[in-house]
Point group: C2
């Protein structure tokens, strides 16, 4: 998956010879793709979060499966924020994604580290370890949302 | 991932003590989740398809990454067709998903077999093997879409 991540970084930095955006024919394709990846990822973070908060029964196998899905998906959205993908479909991407691209990339990298820890914890099968890891994941989600996700959807 | 699949099967067969639909608070959550999973999966099938059709340069690493994403996502949508999820958001699910649930489940199982073959081929790094596997994947996609996906989105 490293290649995709590198592509995202270089696209954001506008230094790419082959931007990740080339994977998408139209801006709306990129927006739909990244929103879809976030939707599935968020659903599975929530499933693990419910276990960590003891609002759902702890199911070690389900937690490990969800953590693997989260890790697999976590790299994808950041390949779909190429130049010109701020409009095309209603979305919540703040202009800072492009004006502070190094900070955005750093936030994506930090999240990747936290979800990797979560997967390791979930594979280990310890609810306590999962609770600790979820703390880090939750902080990285919130931090990035605070800085880069608008409260409301854009008109297009 | 087997557990998720079993959950889907039992939900569709209305024999579940803990239906997969319990993962979703509202029908619209299930619809958004399954559509999102299909969107990301379809994007990555298309990327491999473009290589197989020689419309994109063959990149063995990218193909293997995409195939892994496809396999990881392929099981997810079928956990989100629980009873009552035919409405809630505009969607293309035909009534046959529920009225012919055994056939729908068989189609999902057949697709799982084909994408597993695709991942094996992609891991092997042979474009010819990928072309062969993509033939099977394409047929299983089309067959299920023909039978269970409507041409147009529902009104809600």
């Amino acid at each position: 998956m490293k290649r995709l991540f590198v592509a995202a970084v270089t696209t954001l930095g506008a230094r790419a010879s082959l931007p990740a955006a080339a994977q998408f024919q139209k801006p709306e394709d990129a927006i739909k793709y990244r929103q879809s990846a976030f939707t599935v990822m968020g659903n599975h973070v929530s499933r693990i979060g419910a276990m960590a908060a003891e609002k759902a029964p702890f199911d070690a196998k389900a937690a490990a499966e969800s953590a693997h899905i989260v890790v697999t998906l976590s790299k994808l959205p950041f390949t779909a924020f190429g130049a010109g993908t701020d409009k095309g479909l209603p979305n919540r991407a703040k202009p800072e994604i492009w004006s502070q691209s190094a900070k955005f990339t750093a936030a994506a990298d930090a999240m990747a580290v936290e979800v990797a820890k979560l997967e390791a914890a979930a594979k280990g099968g310890s609810l306590d370890a999962i609770k600790t890891a979820m703390g880090g994941v939750g902080k990285s989600c919130k931090s990035c949302h605070d800085d880069f996700r608008a409260e409301k959807y854009s008109a297009n």
